[in-house]
Symmetry: C2
Subunit: 444 residues, 2 copies
């Protein structure tokens, strides 16, 4: 830097005078364009400026609020009591320990899930690990075997990256026809966060891998341990050993103090309460990858080591929890949703109003990151007629979401995993929103 004498000249040397709308603020192009056209969005909602509610005194305007020391770690407003994770017996036969909780994705905003709402799937309940007793062993076909404390691990240079995690059972009841009239129960086995930790490649470059180290075993320190085999090329690509989630330590139910992040791949590979990484020339064929997390096909054979969460999308507004029943005819409304692909980056999303016969291209909005949630948007003026609303996404690997018929003809209906067929919402003339299944599109 040469210009060390430059001292915020535009601010500190004199008072700014604002006398016109000169556009002296530089525009930033990092965020995608808004989906909004110049059309008047709220035109039909004309409200008088003298409405009582803005004139009347309100209790929070006339007395002191809470002192600051009441709230050194904050919690949500008591009015937000329904924005919580929910659980359902269908996924766990009523076993509250080997169970799941779904993220309220109908209430989610942007591409980050707050830590208190991140979905959970445990095989033996939430472990409470003492970080002082926690150790990570890395052994097998490595040149230097090692046992790390948390302090050792944090000596490595850290990275922070935004990735989604999705359970392969997300949407699984849909294989048997529409089960839930609820977005949260249908697609809430996923969430997204900023993860902070060390790239596994950094550690492995440090320790040195044997030449025939082709497979890695990841194992948790909880009672279920959930051992899984992961190819070393994935480990060396973008796998992370993380201790931070959205700017603070992992929560207990997310694997505190340390978990694995395997971007874009099945949630169960993202080992929580991590204790051991072993390297070998063969996979381990653990229970979790032979009796579970395989994909049974019509032939009777199962696909094993089926890792990638495929390209997917769902409309989050409207949805059964957010219908258009209060929308007036002729009002503008934003159709919004989430798209994601474990292969890479979302390149586009199409929207259909007639159950998949015709499609228009939605706009992507906000940050578009690899193996991350991507928001799409389409603004319409609803005329009050029934619709069959659907979305289909495509990624930078040329993958596109299949119709239900395309998906079942490829993999059958015997499995419960990796559902990524197009989701369709029926909008009735009253604005209700229902989960329906359109199996085959006329023009598909």
């Amino acid at each position: 830097m040469k210009n060390s004498e430059v001292l915020q000249k535009d601010v500190k040397s004199n008072t700014i005078e604002v006398t016109s709308r000169r556009d002296f603020f530089r525009k930033t192009a990092i965020y995608s364009a808004s989906a909004l056209s110049a059309a008047s969005i709220l035109s039909p909602v004309s409200v008088k400026a003298d409405e009582a509610a803005i004139i009347n005194e309100v209790p929070w305007g006339t007395k002191l609020g809470d002192p600051v020391d009441k709230n050194l770690y904050g919690i949500p407003s008591p009015y937000e009591h329904s924005n919580i994770r929910r659980t359902h017996d269908l996924f766990s036969s009523g076993d509250a320990y080997a169970s799941v909780s779904m993220c309220p994705i109908h209430e989610s905003e942007g591409i980050i899930t707050p830590n208190g709402l991140f979905f959970t799937r445990d095989h033996g309940g939430t472990a409470h690990v003492d970080p002082n007793e926690w150790r990570l062993m890395i052994h097998g076909k490595v040149k230097k075997e090692i046992v790390l404390t948390l302090e050792d691990l944090k000596k490595y240079p850290s990275e922070s990256r935004i990735y989604f995690i999705e359970c392969p059972a997300n949407g699984s009841p849909e294989w048997r026809g529409p089960q839930f009239n609820s977005l949260q129960f249908m697609k809430g086995l996923m969430s997204a966060a900023q993860w902070t930790g060390v790239m596994l490649k950094t550690i492995l470059d440090d320790l040195g891998l044997e030449k025939d180290a082709i497979w890695m075993l990841a194992e948790g320190s909880d009672n279920a341990s959930n051992p899984r085999s992961i190819p070393v090329e994935k480990a060396l690509d973008d796998v992370m050993v993380v201790w931070g989630q959205n700017g603070e330590a992992l929560r207990p139910e997310q694997g505190y103090p340390v978990r694995l992040i395997v971007p874009g791949w099945e949630g169960n590979l993202n080992t929580k309460w991590l204790r051991r990484l072993e390297f070998s020339d063969k996979p381990w064929h653990s229970k979790e990858e032979t009796s579970k997390y395989t994909m049974l096909q019509k032939s009777g054979k199962a696909i094993r080591y089926f890792w990638v969460n495929e390209v997917n999308s769902v409309i989050t507004s409207p949805c059964p929890e957010k219908p258009w029943t209060n929308l007036k005819k002729g009002e503008m409304v934003e159709i919004e949703g989430l798209a994601w692909s474990g292969h890479g980056t979302i390149k586009g999303v199409d929207i259909s109003f007639d159950g998949g016969d015709n499609w228009v291209e939605a706009k992507l909005k906000g940050l578009v990151l690899p193996k991350s949630w991507t928001r799409f948007s389409y603004v319409i003026k609803w005329d009050g007629k029934p619709l069959l609303l659907a979305s289909r996404s495509y990624d930078d690997f040329g993958n596109i979401q299949p119709t239900i018929d395309q998906e079942t003809s490829a993999v059958g209906v015997e499995s419960v995993y990796h559902r990524n067929a197009i989701v369709t919402w029926e909008i009735t003339s009253k604005g209700e929103c229902n989960n329906v299944q359109i199996r085959k599109h006329k023009k598909a």
Copy 2:
């Protein structure tokens, strides 16, 4: 999309066989390169693989954890009890209502602050607003005056963007010499989040501004109301009216249900519990912009309407709370920190080991977004000798952080606001880290 027949061919049509380290996973370049060189980071920390702690049974490995329904809105691990906001009388004369709480930025990770740790500054305590009673009035020099409910507001197309907020008093005690041997108390009046809401421009395009509407008043619905004048060109540039923070509703202490976001500008302009936006051809000269939030100069005159948080940076590791006292001589260690500028995007950060006489360029890591926290990193092998560690950042507007002498010669020392001079940590031979002030650099 033409290729609707393409159906995840690489996954669903056959089982993947992994027999070599073929690099078939596409690399993504969206994140900056890691700061790590090929050097062995942990070489001096050689631990035997048979260490007791990894062999012995641990209680969380031998019994069931918590059932899922114990935790439908999660909280941090009890071991993280010290990662909380902290308050200090120096900022509020002991008044817990007109007070502040500092974000534990020494524990922060990446570019997001979790909602429970986002710093607070209230003029009359935390208001608890009923979202059903909340209204926003937009009036004055607009063609259509309006009173919006929360439901009305959410009908506008939404955007999600990541921005920091910084109180102009961040670092203010430093004007009188080093006050705190603590990063949290020194620089914790800032945080960063993903904000979701509507661009104010979208609403104003809808309502129509009068030609001479040059100023906007923003006012809160709490007892303090904190009225502030904001130029309309900023309102039309990137100001947002937001209801979401990091993927959920705003917390009460952040202005639930709706606040203003004025990216890069003084925190007090980001009006919480927003109730009113008025448009005029003149500013309002409110108490908060005449008796407070002005910048007194040597001349006795004060700078008013001093909005932008200038280019700034601080090393977060090491820091007084995270010293190198456990670092062994010759071990590699990452120097890491935060840089930010209310003008735009961080272009680079330099690091000095000798109190500012010589500088080297650090690497930026992770996402680099405008008016957002940016992480920088530099990996060194510490030889155990004392250091004077400093960072200085520069932005895409050509601004660069000043030395203390440069800053005080420009604006004097009578004010308490907008401190952005270079911060220096003294590292002793024992690895302790102290806040010291280097006023003038030899080569500056």
